[in-house]
Symmetry: C2
Subunit: 354 residues, 2 copies
């Protein structure tokens, strides 16, 4: 009897093993650039994780570490590449020092607006080119959410000509900072915590941050009157990074659950950004009626655009893959923008006096 | 021995039963308004189904019937309500005869553009109000994809004044048709298959369809020179309908898989529409260089807008729930549009001569 019972139990094990394998739990360690309780940006990987956990009945679990934990907000690329984390939520252009061609997948000045950028990713060469950049590092990269169009920044004085930019002390990082510097702006970088005081005391004259949703908590609208529309990040896509070994270890259904959760969370961030910026801009103008929206004059826009194009041409000349990406984005923009112009732009123009 | 073996087998059954329950397969019958091989619109429920099947390892399966099968393209609401189908993919405003308040969840003239509409659904009262409309019918409704901004239509003659609209024979259905009729347009309805010939022969002077992506195959650009920007559907959201009994029968993980698949497929349709319209508009203007983009003059736009608002006010007066929805959409628009104007609109304007 004992022997038969053992045999039967073995059969139980055999019968249940496919289910047992299917029920295996995977804990994904994710490092984010953002600090704890980060609005919108930090909510995005948590939205992704919640969807994936629910859809997988807990077979996928996530441990999300903020920058206060891993101490490397701009080192996510290395943390995931080295396998210290399985995933990251960060922005591609933070790593342009290590992989210069990464920056194009966040945004370029005078480039695409958000729906155009997603169309380039999902219906043109965007995803394939991004993979070409990250593949050598054993990484997969997916769109991770969009801030939508970013503002040109808070200015204490009006900018009416190119002359007004000369010597202007401004916090504006990255590629936009390089372009601004070419036009004579004294580009400075200060830690986020010092920006408000620096702007208030006149140590700097202007500061570019994100858009109303994230600018609100910085309080710049309390001390700078002019809020200029942007040119430097007409969309800004953050990213999910995944170590390819982790990805390959997942069964097909969990890979799809992860892919779809990332895709939805990314779109969701775009819509949340739209909403929160609407709320914040409305509050700023109510609480501080002297806050005024401005656009740079054509002279300034044209100079910024010419300088951007000259720098992009230089990048394209120096590097074959950079050339491929820049050309692809320019070609796509020239195909999609006429449509944007006769649809959303024409409509918004026609009802602008509403 | 036999008895023991049976007991052991019973134990096998007990041990495997939770897994067996989890492995139960659900076949969802979905009826779509669209015909077979419908571009973009028909691809959307298939994209949803493919994601849900892969994420559930086949525990969710779909049988999608096009209009040639169920013969009721504008009867999806009834098919799902009566339980003949579990789900539908259709547009809310097709059912305004039965449930007048449904139409606001597709679009209203002079209303929100696509990201604004999603923000209203997901971050304001949109989802709750839509559920309030569909709940009495035992249905759940979810956003099902957006065509993005629709064009005002193909015209054989320029529209330079309100007088040019008087007596104009135009195919433009629904609420937009009602507004046009108030301005003296002779609104006609013809089956899609007759539109090209009617426009070519002058039986009609103008036709409104969707946008370049779906207009292209209709060929109107070959016979009408003027393509006017729209006012009547600044976004157009189609919908997924689900019978509540089907929804309630699903385990929690499959409900979440279905919810996320619908949400992603909806966003995906917006991005695909953006892409395909870019491609199609580019081809139209290349193949037919005489095709010209036009905007209605302010006189026409203002009359259309005033008439729209007057009709909406009438709807709001007659029905408490209509008032609630119309007020919510107007309030939300007045909160979010200033942000759209200082971001995407200001940027697109500043680079329009690019």
């Amino acid at each position: 009897m004992h022997r038969i019972f053992v045999a039967a139990l073995t059969m139980v094990a055999l019968l249940t093993s496919p289910f047992a394998a299917a029920e295996k739990t995977y804990t994904i360690r994710l490092a984010e650039t953002w600090g704890p309780n980060s609005k919108i940006l930090g909510e995005t990987p948590r939205n992704m994780a919640a969807m994936a956990e629910r859809m997988s009945s807990g077979r996928l679990k996530f441990r999300i570490d903020s920058s206060n934990k891993h101490k490397a907000p701009f080192g996510i690329f290395d943390l995931v590449r080295n396998g210290q984390y399985d995933m990251g939520h960060t922005a591609s252009y933070y790593y342009k020092g290590t992989i210069p061609n990464a920056m194009y997948f966040t945004t370029i000045p005078f480039g695409m607006i958000t729906p155009e950028m997603y169309a380039w990713f999902y219906h043109d060469d965007g995803m394939a080119l991004m993979q070409k950049v990250y593949e050598p590092y054993g990484l997969l990269s997916f769109p991770g959410g969009n801030t939508s169009n970013q503002m040109g920044g808070w200015f204490r004085k009006e900018i009416n000509s190119l002359d007004d930019l000369k010597g202007l002390k401004m916090r504006t990082p990255g590629f936009a900072g390089e372009v601004m510097a070419e036009l004579g702006v004294a580009v400075t970088n200060l830690p986020p915590g010092e920006l408000y005081t620096a702007l208030e005391r006149g140590t700097i004259d202007a500061v570019e941050w994100v858009g109303p949703a994230l600018d609100f908590q910085m309080g710049f609208h309390q001390i700078a009157k002019y809020y200029y529309s942007g040119w430097q990040e007409p969309n800004a896509e953050v990213q999910f990074l995944i170590n390819k070994k982790t990805w390959d270890s997942l069964p097909a259904d969990l890979q799809e659950i992860l892919r779809v959760s990332m895709r939805t969370a990314a779109y969701d961030m775009y819509i949340q950004s739209t909403h929160e910026s609407g709320v914040a801009w409305s509050r700023m103008t109510e609480d501080y009626p002297e806050v005024t929206h401005k656009v740079f004059p054509p002279e300034v826009i044209n100079a910024l655009r010419d300088t951007t194009n000259r720098l992009l041409d230089e990048f394209a000349e120096k590097d074959e893959l950079a050339r491929e990406i820049i050309t692809s984005q320019r070609d796509y923009l020239s195909q999609v923008r006429p449509w944007t112009n006769i649809s959303d732009k024409a409509y918004l123009d026609s009802v602008a006096d509403q």
